[in-house]
Homo-oligomer: 401 residues x 2
């Protein structure tokens, strides 16, 4: 059995980013930039007013002075002339400052009457003028490749005059559930069978991570069905199977994929819930085999699939984000498997988060996983600790997982 | 001028959730459930094995005993008979426990040979059996209305045999930029003009919040164009305008919308960046008028539009999530406007987050907003504080904003 960290490192090392595609600006949101965005314009394009008021010559605009208003410059309609001695031009936020003016007299510091304006507060040179290029200059790199684009970044790329962006293609993740005992929701349930939940939960998790899920029909426990589905999934950037990965008598996934050119890098991981996991490659397509147990499958997905999607999407990928919380109950000594206790997360008296494990941690309990707000991480051989001890947790509310 | 809190309360009070729609299971991810999900099945449907091993009668399965293996029960293929005295049935994780058996002998505690199995570790009654209904029972409410659905919730709804979900329709948010001086990215830029970024950034912000953005063509500063666009937006759950909201001479939005049946509940908000804001109603459609300045528009969107989308989506809506950080630099005394300082967010020496404001806070600087990781909140009249003082911040990385 290998550690969670080593397993994740081996998975990430085998993956690389999808190639770039061109998307319209708005389609770039939450995607990973494949080429840097260099500004195509200078912003502001010239000196502009930061306020509503009057463009003036500062040397003249002293308290009590009276200036002739020779024109107006609404934003988008620059004043054609210049501001001469004794003159002022009505101006608005974002308007170009006309030649000759070197400061803005604020509207509230001026009294306008009959084509003239009286200064009620002396103006300082350069005041309320935003200089050309204050925000950014033409040719400047505004957004680096490899960045996950926020709404603010989309605004910045727009302001830099980019109608299109080059981003990594959303990785297509094939999802294949195996097993004779499972049925799709709403379909007839076989005797002793259960409703298949894994591919649906994983499809949502893939979407949450920015991937493009492809749910394949359920493959019964039959080599041929599994092999056929695997062939259908060759167009995927990653094939994820669930079930058939344990070491029992009915573990057909490995056997079924062999004749299809599957190179097995099988391992068991020293983790709970989880343990049985397949990692390998089917021709060019990497294959991640998750346990069939829904709770195990989802916890393994948080540890391995989400980082894999990040790497395929153009990010480095790495461990899930964790935060420090206080244990809300005593924690027992851990065995040799890295444990993930399903827990609630609440704010304690002093504002620190408190993570309290559910009393029953059976890995078949999907309802408990749905209610959980965090996974308390317990290292192999971690000693028993009393309530109030700091622990590391993966917050589950983040990212829609 | 009213406070940020009062403005948000008035906005939220005027909005209600969109009606429900039926979506396929996977389409429910990140949506707000409109009707509770009650389980249609009991899970597990009967007593099942929690491990691979042998179904046995515990009273007989003592160390050293030898039992006849009378059959096998792979998951999905229940054993047709029962386990009699001196008998055992091969069983796998998830398999139904055959009648007669009351415990599972673990595979690793058994030696199998020639149709018999020898017990190497005494079995306790009930051990490794998951009881019928351990996870959930038919008719049980698993997911309440009003919940934002996670990937785990989708898995739970699937396991409860729901192929469809009733969720609130994603609110359609019309986005209308106004102004003679703005051009779409890639289009010719008028003299003294700039590239329009607001609607693109806001479209991404709407998507980040789970809404459905509708970007309307730019309306020049002309009553008729604005009025036409407003009419086109009547099918929206909320119309958001940018620009034309300040009190200068060129504020046409209010004037243009009046003849269309616009009821103005205008206010100025005591905040920075921001201040000019329109709130009202055009017939049945609520209207939020944001400032034209891109930084102001986005900060106002974080404070008002995202909560509005939450309310429209079926959540209560409320202030943005904040966290406590330490000021990374001294902060000046604040005036009467609630301030939002653009800041970086890093982990300090003791693990606490440290928020350091950018040296220049000019509200025209979109690049700085894109680089910002947090907004430091400064209450009206907040006193000057030294570096290291705890401050409240809105983390911007969350939610793709």
């Amino acid at each position: 059995m290998i550690s969670v960290e080593e397993a994740r490192s081996r998975i990430l090392a085998a993956l690389s980013a999808t190639p770039a595609e061109t998307v319209p600006l708005a389609g770039g949101w939450n995607r990973i930039l494949a080429r840097p965005v260099l500004s195509r314009v200078t912003q502001p394009p010239a000196d502009v007013s930061a306020m509503d008021g009057y463009a003036v010559r500062a040397a003249e605009a002293v308290e009590g002075a009276s200036l002739a208003v020779v024109g107006s410059a609404p934003a988008g309609h620059p004043f054609a002339g210049s501001v001469g001695p004794g003159e002022a031009v009505r101006i608005f936020t974002g308007s170009l400052v006309p030649p000759g003016a070197d400061a803005i007299l604020l509207q509230e510091d001026a009294e306008a009457a009959e084509g003239r304006v009286r200064v009620t507060e002396t103006v300082r040179q350069g005041r309320w003028i935003r200089r050309r290029g204050l925000d950014f200059a033409e040719g400047e790199e505004l957004l680096p490749a490899g960045r996950r684009l926020t709404a603010r970044d989309i605004g910045l790329a727009a302001a830099a005059n980019h109608p299109w962006l080059a981003v990594h293609r959303a990785p297509r993740i094939g999802l294949l559930a195996t097993g004779d005992e499972i049925a799709l929701p709403g379909d007839p349930i076989p005797p002793g069978g259960i409703v298949s939940s894994n591919t649906h939960a994983l499809a949502a998790l893939v979407r949450a991570g920015g991937g493009d899920p492809l749910v394949l029909p359920i493959a019964p426990d039959d080599s041929r069905a599994i092999a056929e589905a695997a062939v259908a999934a060759r167009a995927c950037d990653l094939l994820v199977t669930t079930g058939g990965a344990s070491v029992g008598d009915h573990d057909l996934v490995q056997a079924a994929l062999g004749p299809q050119g599957f190179e097995l890098d099988f391992w068991q991981i020293a983790m709970r819930p989880g343990k049985p996991l397949i990692w390998g490659r089917l021709g060019a397509t990497p294959v991640l085999g998750l346990p069939g147990n829904p709770v195990s499958a989802l916890v393994c997905a948080v540890q391995f699939l989400t980082p894999a999607i990040e790497r395929l999407s153009g990010l480095p990928g790495g461990p899930p984000r964790t935060l420090r919380a206080l244990a809300g109950a005593p924690l027992a000594e851990n065995d040799r498997r890295f444990d993930h206790l399903r827990a609630t997360l609440a704010e304690g008296a002093d504002g620190q988060p408190v993570a309290t494990p559910f009393p029953v941690q059976d890995s078949s309990m999907l309802k408990v996983l749905s209610r959980a707000e965090a996974l308390i991480l317990r290292a192999p051989r971690a000693p028993a600790v009393p309530a109030g001890t700091p622990v590391e947790v993966i917050p589950l509310g983040d990212l829609g997982i």
